[in-house]
Amino acid sequence: MNCNDRDFLGLNPADRLALSRRTFLKQSAGGIGLAALGSILGPSAFAGKPEVTGFPNFKPKAKKIIYLFQSGAPSQMDLFDPKPGMAKFRAQDLPASIRQGQRLTTMTSGQKTFPVAPSIFNFKQHGQSGMWFSEVMPHIASKADEWCMVRSMFTEAINHDPAITFMQTGSQLAGRPSIGSWASYGLGSVNDNLPNYVVMSSFGSGRPDDQPLYDRLWGAGFLPSKHQGVKFRNKGERVLYLKDPEGMSRDIRRESLDEISALNQQRHGVLGDPEIQTRIAQYELAFRMQTSVPDLLDFSKEPQHVLDLYGPDVKRPGSYASNCLLARRLCERDVRFVQLFHMGWDHHGGLPKALKGQCADTDHATAGLLTDLKQRGLLDDTLIVWGGEFGRTIYSQGALTETNYGRDHHPRCFTVLMAGAGVKKGYVHGETDDFCYNIVKDPVHVHDLNATIMHLMGVEHTRLIYRYQGRDFRLTDIHGELMKKVLA
């Protein structure tokens, strides 16, 4: 069976499961007795049936998430939040009334002056909505009427490691489950061939030496480890250990799996431990993954006009564009949570050039992904999130010249984009002050964003809890307000 067959894809998930069961039965004839079937085919590969009941709490708007994480913190005033009034403050010291004594990183806290650096880029309004975008994102701008732009995000951390950990897990310190793991834990899987939570990463060309990504960002924390994100790697083997060893044919693999099953079955007959049945099932799922993943990764049947949507970089495996196309293909296969991390947004100096590099990496493909999902009807039940871990300062880190400046970390405000299932289209939420330094309207905390994402997935964020070390934990700690105004 080819899971990518149009017929197969046309089936609803339940029928697909049934079909794969039949195929599996045929393939593994002799390996496993009928009695074992119930337990073999019951649990799904990664998350399976959710371990908690009662979720979703209500009908979800978004069945799937594609979270496009821009690691390093894109500059909001150079991309989304125009501040034309800054021109007249150019090179002047940031007024103390704006900074309000807020803490700075030790990279700029020693600077003698904080010269205001107006964005070098031109902004224009786009679409019916008239949403403002900078000239460096022409493709994303062309989707203005699809986006819901949140200009009033803020966070608590001021350095990358804690900040990105906070975005992903709701805590600055290592150890909490990531948002994708929570979704997997609460909602289980609707796909029985692929992981429920897939993570991909790509290197940016704007600043090639940053920022590191850590396993913990997609880790399951204290949740059962099966909810950790499965990494589709951008180098070497795409999914670890998926390929049979050189010199082992698929037939031999199948036979050896049948032997493993038969022997496990015999042992089960002696001991009666149901965990043995679970293991038998996991081996069959592994075998199915070995078929379905290569099929998933094979772009050869994608027509040129679809490839064109994502831009020329789509042909380079491991690029952001290629990951976007893969995200669509995962989405088509009902993988619940797909997260892309694109590195290179940390522009302490040389921002104009570096930002252009990052936009060249991501602009075309992000817009292409939106178009592609939409034309397939997938955008109706898929939520897209685009954003980084904090914002950047209006003042220049280091010298401000005609053509160059840098910006330090700024947790007080930044912009996140959303699109797709359940969010308002062509809507701008929140407002920052003239210096893009403080929020003046509708502040949105990281917990609020996460609460809203969970809400769109049908989960009341205060209810998805996990007892660990005697305490009930949740993604949003004890906080999180739904962003009601952004809901469609």
Binding site: T106, N159, L173, L263, G349, T401, G406, R471
Partner: protein
């Protein structure tokens, strides 16, 4: 409030029918309910108390809250407001409130009512009461004290146990539990052949005496201690803590009593006359991550470092979740926020910065290394070598002294040479007033009034600046590069990288003579007034790409430009505020004569790191003798020049002294050879392998102040606090110092209610899969009630009474019938005792990540059983570290060759942000923080790893080879292989499955030898040439089947 009085009565009626049974007990029955559903608002956290009502003591509950109604009236549920609130249908009054999403079941409400009816007797939380040794119930025949308790509970629950497991299964179980390796054939044979009644006892003793016992035990402790070979956080660089890890292995192997094990790790440095080992032991509290991110705020992370220690200590020894209290009083346990910071005060007075790097400097954070305080020591082998080197040093020092005899003559010659060199020279340095400076990468270079060049415009990835200027006629011996900060540069520093740094990777200098001929200058040395750690200017003249071996055609040395190795160069840590000052780099040439009319072209190369180009610079040249060129002593050099030129007869005694001193320091001095010899030896001594430093605790003479931190934030200090132990726990005994040492001793003084219970419970968890207290990570009031409370207390007291003897305690458990049971389970038991809490059968669960890999190495004969030492790099997937360390010194993972591939898994190098994937897949901790309990998941990724990962494929091949070399028939060899992996003989049915598959594959591989050879080529170990490839390949698949069996990855 609508009180449904009738419902209370109904309830009471129901309750009364149950009164004939056992009494409701607060700790067992009521506390879990209250703790989960009431205490968050009516518990110990004073700040959050709603309606002024607390339910965590009878006194408070009788007093009631704001309304004045007693919440609990002992004996009278119908008059108790608690019952009214639980039963009311009025949504406004109902408790717990709907938005709390906590619902009490009817049974729970029933229990509360019964408890009130029976008098509402409160008990302090059981885990906070010092355990007393209960009487041992009747011990079943053949069992021990443990079985008395187990049988009592099991019988009460209506179960019987299972018979003893077969001997092979039993030995494999114990071997895996105690050593993390399957039993050796010798151990198995000995045990199977031993008919004596104490055969089992002897088998356990053998396992406990194995050097691998300590490795198995240490593996778990490393999770607790969040041990790793990296610093964690952004660039996640290297550190050296494995000597601490080896201390743990030794401690277990020598059966260090748990009290000493505790005191030495928490406070070894404070013990009187602390030994080297006791100091190394304190590495426990330095194993936490250290933040080295560029913009980190030191005060913030110094607090996190201490809090990590508090949490780790709380979790590891007391199974308490102290971390709840950093922001507020504990919701469930009697620990206040103030007490948390009093506890904090025991751990904050270490001589440390709290962040990566020495006291906050960011310079070295990408290079990694250990952070103060550290302790230097020598391994036993190194100690021997050190003694030899030190002896040689004494001899070399003598040689240096005797060199003085030839000094006078040598000095005269030296002075003569200098005098010639000085003649005609006036200025030391002449600025290279260039007419032209060009950037290869397209940057603009504008000359400044001070003669320097400032780069602007484009900042290319890599750049080369070329300055051309007239050269000063005469001798040319040196080049001075001054780099100057400029406000226009990033971070107002010296370089053009976003962080203000630069990396100079090379310099060339070429003279163009009047006739157009070119003469390359030969760089022989370089100095700087400052170099970033790991980025010395010397790297430009040592071991560059054009090596010193490159000779001209006739053997003459060819001129060398200054060139750093790939990835190296001179940098100045321009990211640090204190380093944004002018810097000088000095290059010394082989002296070259410059004729009139020549021009000098100097190229500065910045080709190591992207965008790390020099920002503003100035160049000067000199003709001074090289021995006088120095960055430090320009006035002294001038003085010396004057003295040398002075008539020797006119020199004063002081003059002669200065000259003699200068000569002493010059390379021409006869002592030089002797000095070089000595320097070489000293260098050998300093870089001797096995001279190590490891991070340790070192208490400040004056304790640091500690404060309650509002909402746990470093920049919101409140009231100052002193060291003090939480009031709910026993006080510090009189006479104990109120510091870490007193604290550590307090944990293990036998009166502490938690330590021994927590530790025996973890032992139980290791051997039975689940602890007697299931929540082994939490003994607070949210803890689950123990399945066998008396057994837990008996074991805890017995452990402490018997000198905290770890091996004794473990042997006691392994000797029990409970442990020896077979794991066969019936559907009835599965239904009624699904988690085996009543020990109705032997425990069966998946092996830990390390054991699964170690077992495969062991049965295949690949395992290199060496204990301890520096961490190793086994096979890992390509690019495994790439995304976590684009910078930092842990990147480009490359597996070892040879034994590093086959060491036990606890020696695998551990990078926290990208832990070994095959370990993570099998639920290992990440070691970013203290983890006291692992999951046991069962996923397809695990199957893929066991089937396809190179370690397992290679182990399969080596096991196949061993099988093929066994005497006998194919069936006998299959039987051997099956037993080798599972320790037990395979059944005929099992062996038949294997035989059938093997035969099919033999045919397949015989028909496709290239495929067979490909399979055999996997892994670095040699492929035997005397075995048929088709045979070996077919067997490799079969042994891979064996390594993949559920039974193999499970301890049965």
């Amino acid at each position: 409030m609508q009180v449904r009085r009738s419902s209370i009565l109904v309830l009471l009626a129901a309750a009364s029918t149950l009164l004939a049974e056992e009494r409701v007990e607060f700790n067992r029955d009521i506390r879990p309910i209250f703790s989960d559903t009431c205490f968050a608002c009516h518990g110990p956290d004073e700040a959050k108390t709603k309606g002024k009502l607390r339910l965590d003591s009878l006194e408070a509950a009788r007093r009631g809250g704001k309304s004045g109604d007693p919440a609990i009236v002992p004996g009278h549920p119908e008059r108790s407001a608690v019952m009214k609130r639980l039963l009311t249908t009025d949504a406004d009054d109902h408790m717990p409130p709907a938005e709390f999403h906590k619902v009490l079941s009817k049974d729970q409400i029933d229990l509360v009512a019964r408890w009130i009816k029976e008098g509402a007797v409160y008990q302090g939380h059981w885990a906070f009461q010092t355990p007393k040794k209960p009487a041992v119930p009747t011990i079943p025949t053949g069992g021990n004290a443990i079985d008395g308790f187990v049988a009592q509970v099991r019988t009460a629950k209506g179960f019987s146990g299972t018979p003893e497991a077969s001997r092979p299964t039993l030995l494999r179980r114990a071997a895996l539990d105690l050593t993390g390796l399957p039993p050796t054939e010798a151990d198995l044979t000995a045990f199977l052949a031993d008919p004596s009644p104490d055969a089992w006892s002897k088998a356990i003793d053998r396992l406990l005496a194995s050097p691998h016992y300590g490795e198995r035990m240490a593996a778990q402790w490393l999770d607790f201690a969040r041990y790793a070979d990296s610093n964690g956080f952004q660039s996640d660089t290297t550190r050296t803590m494995w000597p601490w890890r080896d201390w743990v292995i030794r401690a277990y192997n020598t059966n260090k009593p748990f009290d000493a094990f505790t005191v030495e790790q928490l406070a070894g440095d404070l013990l009187p006359n602390a030994t080297e080992d006791q100091i190394i032991a304190t590495g426990f509290n330095r194993n936490h991550r250290l933040n080295g991110e560029g913009g980190r705020i030191v005060a913030e992370w110094a607090v996190e470092t201490v809090i990590d220690r508090v949490e780790t200590t709380g979790s590891t020894w007391m199974a308490l979740t102290m971390n709840c209290c950093r922001c507020h009083d504990h919701k469930y346990d009697p620990i206040s926020q103030k007490e948390f910071y009093q506890f904090f005060a025991y751990f904050n007075s270490n001589e440390e910065s709290g962040v990566l790097g020495e006291f906050g400097g960011a310079a070295s954070t990408r290079k990694g290394g250990n952070t103060s305080p550290t302790y230097s020591f020598a391994t036993p082998e190194a100690k021997v070598r050190l003694a030899e080197v030190e002896k040689a040093i004494v001899a070399a020092e003598l040689a240096v002294k005797s060199a003085a005899k030839v000094v006078p003559a040598a000095q005269t010659a030296w002075e003569q040479k200098l005098r010639q060199g000085f003649t005609g020279k006036t200025a030391s340095w002449a600025m290279l007033t260039g007419t032209q400076a060009v950037s290869k990468g397209g940057a603009s270079l504008k000359q400044q009034p001070d003669g320097s060049w400032l780069a602007g415009g484009t900042n290319p990835d890599k750049d080369v600046y070329t300055v051309t200027a007239p050269a000063t006629t005469g001798q040319l011996t040196g080049l001075l590069l001054e780099v100057i900060p400029d406000a226009s540069l990033p971070t107002q520093s010296l370089g053009r990288a976003p962080n203000g740094n630069f990396v100079l990777s090379g310099v060339d200098a070429v003279l163009t003579l009047a006739d157009g001929k070119k003469v390359e200058l030969d760089f022989v040395d370089a100095q700087a007034d400052f170099s970033q750690e790991g980025w010395p200017i010397k790297s430009l003249v040592e071991g560059g790409t054009a090596t010193k071996a490159a000779k001209g055609a006739k053997g003459a040395k060819k001129a060398q430009p200054a060139r750093a190795k790939t990835g190296a160069g001179w940098a100045i840590a321009g990211n640090d505020a204190e380093n944004r000052v002018p810097r000088k780099g000095l290059f010394i040439f082989t002296p070259t004569t410059v004729p009139a009319g020549a021009t000098l072209t100097v190229s500065l190369r910045c080709e190591t790191l992207a965008n790390h180009n020099v920002g503003r610079f100035r160049l000067s040249t000199t003709g001074l003798p090289s021995s006088l060129i120095s960055l430090k002593d320009t006035p002294q050099a001038a003085e010396l020049r004057a003295l040398i030129l002075k008539d020797p007869a006119a020199r004063t005694a002081e003059d002669r002294k200065v000259i003699a001193k200068a000569f002493t320091e010059s390379p021409e001095h006869p002592k030089r050879a002797a000095d070089a010899q000595l320097a070489g030896l000293l260098n050998t001594k300093n870089t001797l392998p096995g001279i190590l430093d490891v991070m340790v605790m070192k208490e400040l003479a004056q304790p640091k102040d500690a404060f309650v931190l509002d909402r746990g934030e470093y920049d919101r200090p409140g009231a100052k606090v002193e060291r003090k132990l939480p009031a709910a726990l026993p006080p510090l005994p009189a006479g104990e110092p109120n510091n870490r040492l007193g604290f550590a001793r307090w944990l293990v003084n036998g009166q502490h209610p938690l330590t021994a219970r927590v530790w025996v419970n973890r032992a139980w968890e290791n051997f039975f899969g689940t602890g007697l207290v299931k929540t082994s990570e939490n003994f607070g009031s949210q803890a689950e009630w123990p399945s066998h409370p008396e057994l837990l207390d008996w074991l805890a007291v017995d452990f402490a009474e018997n000198g905290w003897d770890m091996k004794r305690m473990q042997k006691l458990i392994l000797m029990s019938q409970a442990y020896r049971q077979s794991t066969v389970v019936t559907p009835e038991k599965l239904e009624k005792d699904p988690e085996n809490r009543w020990i109705s059968r032997g425990p069966r669960f998946r092996l830990p990540a390390e054991t699964i890999r170690d077992q495969a190495l062991a049965v295949s004969g690949l395992l290199v059983p060496k204990v301890g030492g520096v961490s190793v790099k086994p096979y890992m997937p390509e690019a495994v570290w790439d995304e976590t360390s684009v910078y930092g010194d842990m990147r480009n993972y490359k597996a070892d060759t040879g034994e590093g591939l086959y060491r036990r898994s606890l020696y695998t190098i551990w990078k926290r942000t990208a832990a070994p994937p095959s370990m993570l897949l099998f639920d290992s901790a990440t070691r970013e923080f203290c983890t006291v309990k692992r999951f046991r998941s069962n996923t397809p990724m695990q199957a893929l790893s066991l089937l396809n990962e190179v370690t397992f494929v290679e182990a399969s091949r080596k096991l196949a080879e061993l099988a093929l070399r066994q005497p006998g028939t194919t069936d006998q060899r299959l039987a051997w292989a099956f037993q080798r992996v599972t320790s037990r003989p395979g059944t005929p049915a099992e062996l038949a499955v294997l035989r059938k598959g093997l035969d099919r594959r033999l045919t397949a591989y015989a028909a496709d030898l290239p495929a067979a050879k490909k399979l055999l080529a996997i892994g670095q170990s040699a492929v035997p040439t005397d075995l048929d490839p088709a045979q070996l390949a077919a067997w490799t698949v079969t042994t891979n089947v064996l390594l993949n069996l559920d039974e193999t990855v499970t301890r049965e």
